[in-house]
Amino acid sequence: MADEITITIDGQEVTTTPGTMVVQAANDAGIYIPYLCYHPGMKPYGACRMCVVEIEGQRGTPASCTLPVRDGMVVNTKGGDAVQVRNTTLDLLLSEHPHGCLTCHRIDLCGPQDICLRHVDVVDRCVTCPKNERCELKDTTRFHTQELVSPLTYQYRNLQVETKDPFYDRDYNLCIVCARCTRACDELRGDVAIGMTERAGQVLVGTVMGDSLLESGCEFCGACIDVCPVGALTETAYKWERPARVEQSVCAECPVGCTMTYEVNHWERVVRAVPELNAPSNMGQACFKGKFGFEYVNDKRRIRKPLVRRDGELQEASWDEAIAAAAEGLAQHRGPAFALMANPRNTNEELYAAQKFARAAMGSNAVDVASNDRPGIVEGLQDTFGYFAGTMTTWELADSAAVMVVSANLTEEQNVVGVPIKRAVRAGTQQLIVIDSREVELTRYASLWLRPYPGTDSVLLGGMLRCIVDNGLADMEFVNERAEGWDELVACLEPFTLDAVAAETGVNAASIEQAARIYAEAASAALLFGGDSSIGGTRRTLSRMVAALAVATGNVGRHGAGVMPLYQGANAQGAFDMGAWAASLPGHNLLDDASAREAFGKLWGVPIPDERNPGNRSIFTRARDGSIKAMVMLGDHVHYEDGTLGDVMGGLDALEFLVATSAFPSAITERAHVVFPAEVWAEKTGTYTNIERRVQPLRKVAKNKRVDSRSDLDVLCALAAAMGAQGFSWDGPAQVLDEIARVVPEYAGISWERLMRERLDIVTTPSDEPQPTQVMYTGNVLTGLKWPCASEDGELFVDRFRHGKARLQPVAWHPRPEVDPQFPLMLAHGRVLLELGRKPNVTVVGKRNRVEREERFVLNPVDAAAAKLGEGDPASVTTADGAERRGVVALLDAVPAGVVSLTTLFGELAVEVDASDRPDPMNHIARLNAAPARITPV
């Protein structure tokens, strides 16, 4: 590279790029310069003065974290002046940091419970600090073999430890004011939920007026904990646990697929999750689910042994007995009377085996995953581009000039996707359009927020598309070269005039045109959509509209441009790829395609049944009406209980035979005839495919030793063997992946060995030198492989679509659904981090903080007048499911007529999850769907 420069550090020549700071250049070359406030990925700050160095030909000792490299620079990190400055700095830092044990020769012999013979206060001791042996300050002090004076002379701040908020403990007595946490919250997350307070000697980290994190705008992502060098910020759970070993794997909470390093203690418990600093999927970030939601692995309540129903009661049995019982029961229900429900936390290998088991072993096409409640959002993409998948990667969103998010609560459901968007908006390089009838976290960042009537998203996008066509904003060169069906599409847009669309959606015409212009005129525009407020069949139209908008403006296949469907479920993409859902067979081959069925019939040696796959919702309907008689259910999911899939339990009650694999006793296992104790994600080996189509290796992190569990793959293979089915004799997931790579063309070239080879080799300084945790854990990042990865002609989406050209599809106008006169309004329930202009009450209940807040129903004045309500009136909102909420009315013209808007604070959810006694509360957070409702005065 032309713009490489060479500098000399401690006599060693180091090649680096201009703009790099000296400390990073040294670290990248494996040369250690001590630092406490610097953190890779964040802007240099220069607070701690530990990284001072000497530069030949330059006076003084500049801080190397704020010093850019210069060609020919000669750096001396070990010069006498620099070392003296560092020692003085450390002295000063320790003058306000409890360090009783550092002056003691016995420290290595002491445990936290030992009685100290030196009469050092508990708060003075290092051994009672949660970060003992993980503390960068202590490591740095030891590294410098600092001579410390004894007896102790330091000032203890005597501050109350903040332990009342969910997930976090904050002990500012230990803070060294490096400002990593505030900078992480600001620069990395864009939240600024914490800041520096006061000045000079009193300066500390805090929130406005010392508020609780519940009301300061905290999203509990844990980024501040991950960067804290000392014991000031820690996770409440397993606070004092030290890792015996660490394992890299992939988070199982959502389709972003964050690479995480899990710390495992001596008792094989997962105690901490640290997002991987350099992983391409998450770049060192995580969210409250991934950071704090793993406790269920260690839970005592897990099912320990297989259970078989005898005489109406579930009784413990051996694995062989249970397999035999399940195989015998299932053998009586071969054919379309059998259905299999898989789980989005299943690996690709399990999903492949599951659909093969249903189709080849049981002769039924009825297989789906629980999270797949809105298949329409990928069907329109398949219609147009050929694949049930998005076209983008998460982190290119940081470079998009415009981003449009349609009906998706992504900061909660796919949190890390929101991070690059928030960063770019705050940096002023991106315009964000939010189309959502609810107020969600991203609306605060939006330059334009359109609030259509729930369910009219597709009409609104149609209006934008027509506006783009009418105003000559379409990229006709791209359309002519890369797409077919344009004229037919334009003909369909006839009814989508601005006025008609404005009337149908309740959004004014000028805003629709403005959105269309921002999207079409941006240098690169991304379109993210969740279809949260749409219903049934309109989602397929929505995703066709999305694809058409992207094609019409040439916003696909370029960096920062593309479309991303925001489905739920960690491995939902894997389910589409493996054909473990309604529309397709493995490899995005439509189930309706007779030749595809025949091909797979030949491959598997068993004809594939002709029946259509009813899909998950209808599977339960059919179970209720008796046409499905036996089922296999893999795992638990929120959709089984939140009504998304209808009356699931009613369906299970009507079954003649139910086999469940589950980690915990649940309403499903209560109804099962055979229950297998399932391994959870952290105990499995396999692959997940994330929202970017990146196939990522999932590695065994730990094993709960109390339970005799097996993976769903093992269970399915054992059942198939017991039932005499052929083609299930794999020896481990790697062999399944080999079969997948053979039959799924997109996965060609992917193997376990190759996934283990695809690494980012990051040079780090030797691990005996003090480093931030995230830096210590990085170095061997498994990047996964984005499909398709076999050499082909041209890159997918960039040069070609699956069928060469994109096939633009006709689109229909879906009017508003008819309103039930009993429930004339639609409740648009959103969730925000903080509500501007209104402060909730935080009270302490027991030992925990709680949010107390009056509900505020925001209404259009027209609806308020109809219900005889005015600003500030108390009112009650009842939804069709019978739930009632009380609050006060607020009037706002921006809310479309027919909608009542309501927000809850994210803090309320955090408290709820934290206080939940469910083993796996993160798996039970329901989505925020629009619901019919009525409002009445109280």
Binding site: D186, G195, T197, E198, R199, T207, V208, L836, K839
Partner: protein, 141 residues
């Protein structure tokens, strides 16, 4: 941001949470960012001030000419431990680094009116006059 905070404090005499929130709305920053700025400056206060202000200069000139005895005397006279508000809410005592009238040192200001060549007795009697007027006003109200 700073000018908005100053305007709010001039208007209200202090910065309540609502003012911080309002400034954050206007400037497009988080409340915590506004707080970081506001809490940096000792001139901002976040609780309602007392009804009358008494400032005492402890700049170098006033210090040399005897501000310390007045300051300490006044603090103990008002039953305070330093800067702050009296318990009855009548007087806010503040130290000022320079009132800008060094030729008249030691200087003080009573309700923003300057007074020079102060002695402890004079300071106490002025403070008592303000208090008397204040309690008379209170009773009338």
């Amino acid at each position: 941001m700073l000018s908005s905070l100053l305007a709010a404090q001039d208007e209200l005499g202090y910065l309540p949470y609502e003012a911080v929130d309002e400034v954050s709305l206007c400037t497009g920053s988080s409340v915590n960012e506004v707080w970081a700025v506001a809490s940096f400056y000792p001139n901002f206060r976040f609780t309602p001030p007392a009804r009358h202000s008494v400032e005492i200069c402890w700049g170098p000139t006033c210090h040399v000419l005897g501000a310390q005895p007045i300051l300490q005397g006044l603090v103990s006279h008002l039953g305070l431990e330093g800067e702050g508000d009296t318990e009855d809410g009548s007087i806010s005592l503040k130290y000022n680094t320079c009132l800008g009238v060094c030729p008249h040192a030691p200087a003080m200001s009573f309700d923003h009116e300057l007074a020079g060549r102060m002695s402890l007795d004079e300071a106490v009697s002025r403070v008592e006059r303000i208090r008397a007027a204040d309690s008379a006003g209170e009773q009338q109200a």
